[in-house]
Amino acid sequence: MSNTDKQVVLEAKGISKHFPGVIANNNVDLALHKGEILALLGENGAGKSTLMNILYGLYHPTEGEIWIKGQHVQLQSPRDAIAHGIGMVHQHFQLVPVMTVAENVILGAEVTTFAGRIDMRQAVREVSELSHKYGLAVDPNAVIEDLPVGIQQRVEIIKALYRKADILILDEPTAVLTPQEANELFQIMRELTKQGVSIIFITHKLKEVLAVADQIAVLRRGEMVGSTLPSEATEASLAEMMVGRNVILQVDKSEAHPGAAILQVEDAHVLDDRKTSVVKGVSFEVRAGEVLGVAGVQGNGQRELVEALTGLRPLTQGRFIIDGHDATRYTPRQITDLDVAHIPEDREKHGLVMAYPIEDNTILNQYYETPYSSGVIVNRKAIENHALKLVEEFDVRTPSVTVAASTLSGGNKQKLIVAREFSKPVKLLIAAQPTRGIDVGSIEFIHQQIIKQRDRGVAVLLVSAELDEIMSLSDRIVVMFGGRIMATLPIAEATREKLGLLMAGSHG
């Protein structure tokens, strides 16, 4: 193709990056040509961000070389990368919330007059010029924390352009954008490439890749599994490359026999931490003996919905009923006492007390009940026996139940949470991202456990960003987008394509 004619502006050769216990990148090769958009695909945890952080000088590779414009470089810090014309828009924005757009843009590359005084007028002017030139409308004097994420992203891009970046790394820029905002971004990207900027673009959304990329590379479990061209790829072929045929999990499950509705959500409205409405009138029900999957790109209100249903976040409108009780204003404890089990999204932050021994983590949700305590005095023996039983039953790999939970691997941590949640009577299970970032064996095990609960008549609400997981476990699927439910599909009618479209906000 014509790519070979173009100059290679950035090349990674044999990059490996090892974190304690994780090989995030393994012998990765990557080449970016001038003026092209290279899409980098991969599942959660495939190592995309790690690779980009290495190219940006934030991480140092364990092995491998980086070549920029034909020159072998050592990137000690982002300062070096910036000096070589690399700009990066991070997956998590790196903006100082209390400062203005202009201040954020010039931070680290300030133009000063005398006595170190920042030439703010000049900065404002340059930001305005940049935003005109590339069609990135932004008010230079606005304070970051008042801006919607889409605009914040533009600020990030302006930041890179201000530093004269001609290689731009965009790490999952569309994950937080509405479809309109994403389209605007694509226009901006095309405008940039026209002006000679080369772009690495990371995303999970196959459609986007086909729409904007000139070149596609796919990472799987830290390894580069191949590259292709949009013209030669389909969504299906990309998915196959991303996930790898042999890893698509097929869970054995029989026909569901749904019973009475256990969870009924009626017109729920929830605010996020910044007091903006992120769940905007959601209604659904989950019946005994069925798995209701909630599909959707992260950040479309799923997290807040789950927090509301577990008593951690108030509803601003609407109500929900659990097993006949109006639980809208219940505390987390009251909800737990309705026999609700909860696998939280962030296992380290919410699911476990890392410094506690395993045994104490197995009773976090029931320490106040017999036999673990009399309500006042704790029964260590009973707790230990309980922990030993769970560890055995759920195959938590650990030398003893007295070691700290922090010593467990990700998968085993998750199994520990699952074990705990299933170790008391359950009528409703709320599972958020139950298998994120864990190994295949553990995924399989946890999936089996969830189905087992369903078959016992438990109502399961499964929230996951993994389409495969949703598709293999759910009996019905709702798709969330922008805080609303786009559609409810029986599993028989759900196809990847249909779900993908709904998740991206278009009506299938």
Binding site: L312, R333, H350, P357, L364, I377, S400, T402
Partner: protein
Amino acid sequence: MAMQATEQEVRGTFGERLAGFWRAASVPLMAILLAALIGAIILIISGANPIDAYAALFRGSFSNARAIGRTLEKATPLILAGLAVAFAFKGGLFNIGGQGQLLIGAIVAAALGFGLNGLPFIIHMPIALLGGALAGAFYASIAGALKAFTGAHEVITTIMLNFVAINITDFLSNGPWKDTGIVARTPAILETAAIPKWDSIPLGFFIAAAVAIIIWYLLFRTTLGFEIRTVGLNPNAAKYAGIRVARITILTMAISGLLAGMGGSIETLGVVGRFQPGFNIGLGFDGITIALLARTHPLGVIPAAILLGAMQAGSSQMQFDAKVSFEIIDVIQALILFFVSAEMIVRWILRIRGEGDGGVRLSSGWGQG
């Protein structure tokens, strides 16, 4: 968050226990050694003989029954002040207000001690003791409530409340509760309120040690303790587990203040015999050193307090025999605190592998979240 190593109780075989004990004790022991070493260098610079000084310090604190009694007497309020800080640590709070809570406890115990007539010892002493403790609890819970409801950082509020407590107690002991005569102090407590000594050994020490054991039991064997530690280690997980974090925060602060207040009570009822301004200076602050030295373990507080108590009890002997002024004790204490907290240094010296436990983490801004 707070110390992780101590969260895991040492159990298992004798060898495992021993190894666990070494893991817990090696850093403080080494810290003490290093501090003594640097202290010795300072002594040499100032022209004193460190061996004489340390020997005299030891003589003054352990050489005979009376010295031991004095050491234990010094250790008593230190145990309670140390427990107050350690207990709050366990709940994720840094109580620098031990001094103020102790003063409030001391003066209320004194008031109950001289003010309640005609009660037998068996009733009077416990009432005065608990009255002081409860006053300390009340005073500390002000900071707890401010933290829970407004997010005001307890470090600043408790420092401020320390200053306020000095003013309150000065006012009371020179005003409404002043003894007859010209001296600013409360009347002496009645015989029936005094905590007796058994020979030269103060009974108060055993009360404090018993409280340490009770606190250990409370923290590690009761559901309340479980809740407090969970909130201290991971408030998010605590919320998920249905624990009411605000309530636990106030309660933790109150119990912490109860302990400090009890330290003041025991001083009043067992040592001073009344409230007199200037008699309880610095006790609350020593609690911080002790809690850290004990790695925030309630039982570790006892030996840590005895160590500091011994240094204080022996300092007069050191002055007398070796002509070394007592401020060197402060220097050594600061160095101990430094080395205990700067675990990295000590571990490096000891060549202990492993990630350690990250040390104590308390600070994350004064704000209201």
